[in-house]
């Protein structure tokens, strides 16, 4: 009888798994799967939560995984929306023509240093020299005699591409420490004497110091007219013919409600406030009628 009992247990477990996994697919809810950029993830997660409260019957799943993953998954059709920090045109192995770009926010980035570094401003040229390894001591840029500890971002990450586009202008970066998350960089810069790295505006806090470049402050106001040069878009890519649910959600993301509240609350910059546009081939052009 004992083995009979086990048989029942086994069947029950299997049946249970089947029933549970069946629930997701058989329900009447429309589902939208979103994968990609970890920089955009908090915003999309928040917006998705609000959206699902208002729209019963839509099931939105938001996952990280990185911009490359987001783009390749949406290209394969594995997910509905792929989040990316970079233009699909700039990512190897992605056919941008097959995808539709939806820009949902703007992110500003700025160099940050350890609190003990007594400088507030740096020239673009010196910043470039630090990140290419030509300047290695803070005294060369008007600071104390202290070694500069460069903390770069992960190779191929969106933030690094944006930073290198503006600051390095094609020069090769110094081979240095690399960290892949804003949170870790924040902690390391905070704790390491003489450290410099770069972060999204939303990760500034009073434990670390952000630098202005050529006396331009890293603020949203300076980003919208391109006085502050280091910024990029957050993209939500879909296939050519996305599902209605996906389309509606992206519409919601770009709506005034989200752009004017959630976007700025979380430290991003509204896409509608921009007075300039950055094209996939890295040109900055003014938007007509935005002035």
């Amino acid at each position: 009888m004992k083995s009979f009992g086990k048989g029942i247990l086994f069947t029950t477990v299997i049946a249970f798994i089947l029933v549970l996994s069946g629930c997701g697919t058989q329900s009447q809810k429309k589902s939208v799967t979103i994968v990609g950029s970890t920089a955009l993830q908090p915003l999309v997660e928040k917006a998705a939560a609000d959206y699902q409260v208002k729209h019963d019957g839509v099931d939105i799943t938001v996952q990280g995984g990185g911009s490359g993953t987001g783009l390749s998954q949406v290209q394969q059709g594995a997910v509905d929306i792929g989040n990316s920090d970079v233009y699909a045109e700039q990512q190897d192995g992605i056919d941008a023509k097959k995808l539709v770009d939806n820009r949902v926010a703007v992110v500003g980035m700025a160099p940050v240093v350890n609190k003990d570094v007594p400088i507030k401003n740096i020239s673009m040229l010196n910043l470039q020299k630090i990140f290419t390894g030509k300047i290695t001591n803070w005294k060369e840029v008007g600071g104390p005699n202290q070694k500069i500890v460069v903390i770069n971002r992960a190779q191929g990450s969106g933030i690094r591409k944006s930073f290198e586009r503006v600051v390095l202008k094609g020069k090769t970066a110094l081979n240095a420490q690399e960290q892949d998350s804003n949170g870790t960089v924040q902690k390391i810069v905070q704790a390491t004497p003489g450290a410099i790295s770069y972060l999204s505006f939303s990760y500034f806090n009073n434990q670390i110091k952000h630098l202005s470049i050529d006396n331009v402050q890293p603020t949203a106001k300076n980003v919208v007219n391109d006085n502050w040069k280091i910024w990029s878009y957050e993209h939500m890519y879909t296939k050519q013919n996305p599902s209605k649910a996906a389309k509606d959600f992206i519409k919601y993301m770009t709506s005034e409600t989200v752009q004017n509240n959630l976007v700025s609350d979380l430290g991003y910059i509204s896409i509608h406030s921009m007075k300039v546009e950055l094209t996939p081939d890295d040109k900055v052009i003014p938007i007509k009628g935005a002035e």
């Binding site: 083995s3 970890t38 990280g64 995984g65 990185g66 911009s67 490359g68 993953t69 783009l71 390749s72 290209q75 394969q76 990512q91 190897d92 192995g93 992605i94 500890v149 992960a154 190779q155 191929g156 990450s157 969106g158 081979n175 240095a176 420490q177 690399e178 960290q179 892949d180 870790t184 902690k187 390391i188 704790a191 390491t192 450290a195």
Partner: protein, 302 residues
Amino acid sequence: MDAVKTELMKKSKASRQDQRGKLISLFCIFLIMLVVLSILYMITSKGLATFFENKMSFTDFFTKKVWNPSAKPQPLVGALPMIVGSFGVTVLSAILAAPFAIATAVFMTDISGKRGQAILQPVIELLVGIPSVVYGFIGLTVVVPFTRAVFGGTGFGILSGTFVLFVMVLPTVTSMYVDSLKAVPRFYREASLALGATRWQTIYKVIIRASIPGLLTAIIFGMARAFGEALAVQMVIGNASILPQDLVSPASTLTSVLTTGIGNTVLGTLPNNALWSLALVLLLMSLVFNLLTRFIGKKGAF
């Protein structure tokens, strides 16, 4: 007569159970084999694509020092710094953990008796259950500043990685070594004591000597764990793909480069394939570790 015959020809309940059990086991084994084989196939085909599809040089991969697979026009896939980094943290943490593991295990089996083991066993097992991000975070906030203050440098590097991994492999090595110490026959101890050896002499000259194959197996298992650990090491080693010159300058491991890079690359491109090649190296190394334990296990006394 016929009734007996049919009764005999019919399968008994026990034999039917036997068959059913066999079928279920076979099914499970087949499923596991399928999973393992498909993972092997995936990693191998992707990992080898770097060399066959993208025509990168095999020797460059193992000997060159610059890692920049997305560089244009000439991508650079020199994995030597990562390989050295991985072996560095693995070997050092195993060396550091071994004496502690030996002492703890001997204490649990031969010195403290039942009570010591009752307390230490859960403590050791608890260490295994702590998620690696917790180790990484403690490493980042405690070990890195400590290394910076005591040994200089930025604090990020192989040394910090070693300290973090030391704590992470200690429970593995200890609990495996406890098992092999328990397997040392009781009469070894009795004979040694009967010959007039002290407890220390018995432990040192008999028990530890007799359990050396078990100790080596335990250490290699610990090394396999250290070699494959990604997150915690990634947080403290600095992730600079530079060939390490000393223990306190930023370095990188195979896993740390793999985890930071995989999300930013697209399947099927060289930067992605190059990362799969790193995964292939990891896989082959864990295979080597496995074979080593088998080899040592065969030589064991019991």
